[in-house]
């Protein structure tokens, strides 16, 4: 663990990050005042009077990460996670913005619910919360939700998804794709043909046949993606594909992009690292939707993220209470935590394998996701005048994941007792240092309010 | 393998003579062979029982039923080691009810094997009389059990081990005494 790097100056509104490697390239001192970057200078030239100083030698400064896919569970499942605990976990993971998925209870299919989630995020103050609106009311797939009302609300929703469920009706998907053009929205599809995956438990392959667990075939994901990219092309809309998990899906997206279809895609950290043979233990900590796949799929996903076919890393952070994971496989809930381990898993699977450099990490974890979600103020260059949403990381640190030490309310991480490389040291959200020395810094209400929306 | 001094206690010819004497003693006491059943205790008691039965048949001119008794399931020390493979229990067709059963074993030591054999026998039927014949009695009884017919009385110390080899299983007939702490494996070192 690093020594304490931050010397706080009480009452100071000025923060100086010294000797950081910007995007893994040049060394610089970065000066922040209020919510804005006011200086990016050669190291050693900065005046640090009355400033909180963060010593960053050996550390890399990246734009704050933007997660396109998180489950904060509030309202409805506060036993698993709340907006406060989830965004705290996000900040520890280096995220300065998260998109909160709509499959809450009640479902986020009205302006009222999305505004509630947005407000909870502001009050917690750990990072920006961008609520995702449901595509159909109640996620039932039968009727479009009031997408316009959600877009116009204080939450300014731009990403719509029935995630958890697939918008499988072709006409419904077409209408949704067309409708959101009016406010530059994007439909984020959870690609899973429901009839091909009834009762499915794990990837359909040699192992599912041996383990006696019903299979979730790759074609159930690929068939929907194939249809949706053609629909998006036909109606001239943007499409975003959630948690791509198969080699075939990567190929389809590559083909669609080459044709000029406006499609973007995300991959979860766990799909970049873990394979379906973990299911042989029947430990439901490895049960997730879409399921862990084969080594060949993992390799194709890594390649796809490296060459930009896949635009973003999105965690699909899915907290579940202990009893939903401590039982037999078929009774267990689908999903894994992801916010606090995402960066490390990307380091292990993409950086340490030479597939992505630090600019690539900035691109896939911040620039592109911010662009896809149209999140103003996030994914910005590290330059004077830009909002100070920054993440400072130690590429050489290692840490052991202990479920009980995570900030999330839930414990369902697949990396229990695993050593991972890379650590988020500091996270700065709108100029406020919310994470220091890999620990969350409690914020006063006043401070949170003062930093504005 | 044993690391101490080993000496021969009984050679093949000794064993032959001893078995012949025991066979005579059995028929003398039973006044013939009419209701005898000879049962060997697995493993090495079995070929010894067969040889005794054949000898009795020779000089009495009467068929002597012979069988085998596996006592594994009746042992009192099962929980001390991993589960042992079973050997077969084969009783002659007419059974043992009301008959004179002669149990045959290679070495009598603590007496626990014989106790187990008596329990096993009790669940297979009700003999009128049970007698015990052993090739070697090495002393150190832990239970009130004694043999009726003994091939050789062999006083031993606890640091010595007795090893019985029989032709039918080991390729030769030999009884040896070795000075070293007894090991759990090996021929005929009855518990």
């Amino acid at each position: 663990m690093s020594d304490l790097r931050t010397s706080a100056h009480a009452g100071s509104k000025r923060t100086v990050i010294r000797n950081a490697k910007l995007l893994g390239n040049d060394l610089a001192d970065v000066v922040i005042e209020g919510p804005v970057i006011v200086g990016v200078e050669l190291p050693g030239l900065t005046d640090v009077t009355d400033a909180t100083v963060i010593e960053a030698d050996g550390l890399i400064l990246l734009p704050g990460f933007v997660d396109l896919h998180t489950h904060l569970r509030e309202p409805g499942r506060e036993d698993a996670e709340t907006v406060e605990s989830g965004t705290r976990a996000a900040a520890l993971g280096g995220f300065t913005a998260v998109h909160a998925m709509a499959n809450t209870d009640p479902v986020a299919d009205t302006a009222g619910v999305v505004e509630q989630v947005w407000r909870l995020g502001r009050e917690a103050g750990w990072c920006e919360v961008r609520p995702v609106g449901a595509v159909t009311t109640g996620l039932a797939g039968k009727q479009l939700a009031e997408l316009g009302a959600m877009a116009d609300s204080a939450a300014q929703v731009r990403v719509f998804s029935d995630d958890g469920k697939c918008v499988d009706d072709a006409v419904m998907m077409r209408r949704a794709l067309e409708y959101v053009k009016a406010f530059d929205g994007v439909i984020a599809q959870h690609a899973q043909e429901p009839r091909l995956t009834e009762g499915a438990q794990m990837n359909e392959g040699a192992l599912s046949g041996i383990l006696g667990l019903r299979g979730w075939p790759a074609v159930a994901e690929e068939a929907i993606i194939a249809r949706d990219v053609l629909l998006a092309e036909h109606v001239g809309s943007r499409l975003h594909v959630c948690h791509v998990s198969t080699a075939g899906s990567v190929e389809l997206i590559r083909w669609a992009k080459a044709k000029g279809v406006d499609v973007t895609a995300e991959v979860t950290p766990h799909h970049l690292l873990l394979t379906d043979d973990l299911a042989a233990s029947y430990d439901p900590h490895f049960k997730v939707n879409p399921p862990l796949r084969s080594a060949a799929d993992v390799a194709a996903l890594r390649q796809g993220l490296a060459d930009g076919t896949i635009d973003a890393v999105a965690t699909d952070h899915a907290p579940h209470p202990v009893e939903d994971k401590e039982c037999e496989w078929s009774a267990a809930a689908f999903g894994m935590l992801g916010l606090e381990t995402a960066f490390s898993v990307v380091v292990e699977s993409m950086v340490n394998t030479g597939l992505l450099d630090w600019e690539g990490v900035a691109d896939r974890m911040s620039w592109r996701p911010a662009a896809i979600g149209l999140v103003a103020g996030q994914g910005r260059p590290i330059e004077v005048g830009e909002p100070a949403n920054l993440t400072l990381v130690d590429p050489n640190a290692t840490w052991t994941v202990r479920a009980s030490e995570l900030a999330s309310r839930s414990r369902n991480t697949p990396y229990r007792e695993r050593q991972l490389p890379g650590r988020v040291i500091s996270t700065i959200f709108r100029g406020r240092v919310v994470v220091t020395d890999s620990q969350a810094v409690e914020q006063s209400d006043e401070l949170v309010r003062s930093s504005g929306a | 393998m044993s690391s101490g001094r080993t000496r021969t206690v009984l050679e093949a010819s000794d064993i032959d003579r001893v078995l012949t004497r025991i066979s005579h003693e059995i028929t003398e006491r039973a006044k013939g062979a009419s209701d005898l059943v000879v049962l060997g205790i697995q493993t090495r008691g079995v070929p010894l029982a067969q040889r005794i039965a054949r000898r009795i048949e020779e000089f009495e001119g009467q068929h002597v039923p012979v069988g085998a008794l596996d006592i594994t399931m009746y042992r009192d020390d099962l929980r001390l080691r991993p589960a042992r493979p079973l050997e077969s229990t084969q009783l002659p067709d007419m059974g043992i009810d009301g008959r004179t059963v002669v149990l045959v074993d290679d070495v009598l030591f603590s007496g626990r094997t014989v106790r187990a054999a008596l329990d096993a026998l009790g669940e297979l039927g009700r003999p009128r009389i049970v007698r015990l014949a052993v090739l070697v009695d090495r002393g150190h009884r832990q239970l009130p059990i004694r043999a009726d017919y003994v091939g050789k009385n062999l006083p031993t110390s606890m640091e010595e081990s007795v090893r019985v080899r029989v032709r039918e299983i080991d390729g030769e007939d030999l009884v040896t005494l070795t000075k070293s702490p007894p090991k759990p494996v090996g021929g005929g070192d009855a518990a």
Binding site: I210, E328, S330 | L86
Partner: protein, 318 residues
Amino acid sequence: MNKHLLSAGDLSHEDALLILDTAAQLARVADRPVKKLPTLRGRTVVNLFFEDSTRTRISFEAAAKRLSADVINFSAKGSSVSKGESLKDTALTLEAMGADAVVVRHGSSGAPHRLASAGWINASVVNAGDGTHEHPTQALLDAFTLREKLANGQGDLAGKNVTIVGDVLHSRVARSNVLLLDTLNANVTLVAPPTLLPVGVQDWPCSISYDLDAPLGDCDAVMMLRVQGERMNDSYFPTAREYSRRYGLDTRRMSLLPEHSIIMHPGPMNRGMEITADVADSKRSVIVEQVANGVSVRMAVLYLLLGGIPEEGGATNE
């Protein structure tokens, strides 16, 4: 043998023969006046059945009692709604009661694995059938029956051709049998319509045939698996009639078998579906013997798991 019996695939050739040889000895107990051995006296065996199965439960109960163990029957209808309450809390209760072995049948594949590895109990776990995964003692009693009938009750099944017919996709009996028969060096052929074979079956240690008539001329044993008529509602096959016409064992097909061939079924049978009444009741059918052999085999399993201290690692005995 190690502490649990969860999968037939965990048994080495040596382990499997040890179980079968032990079962052969224990089978004699049934012929004795006192049908009991004192070996597991004072041990407690719990039958933890989340799925109804009178036949298997009684078989395990008889096996445990013949070894003088105490038997507790626990019939729990676990539903996915009660989740952890079904398995974990039940396990903790059994541990508090001092179970030495837990024989578990559950509708969820992997439930015995969870019991054995979650750290809730110290008992040995015997898988009596988990979902569509495995049923190792069934495979063992099938192998025992095959050995008695085809190999004089000794050694393994080298060179024997066994044909298994039916809903392989949903059959734990098929999975366990394929694994164990391969370990015992038999040649297995699976026969089923393509819809009832799992993805990846071509990598299993057996051959596949979509045609039932083809392997019959050459096979030493036919094992018919139960096929549920309701599968036709999920389009695995069009009608029960077409299924039995193409994959049912009837008198005509029985006549294709060599003289010495035997017919097996794990039960319960769907007479008229996968097997006609004539065939089930014919002289070649060893279905009743399979049941009797089940008790001996389960006695052997319980004895080897509980009759001594647990072994480290593999199959060696002294």
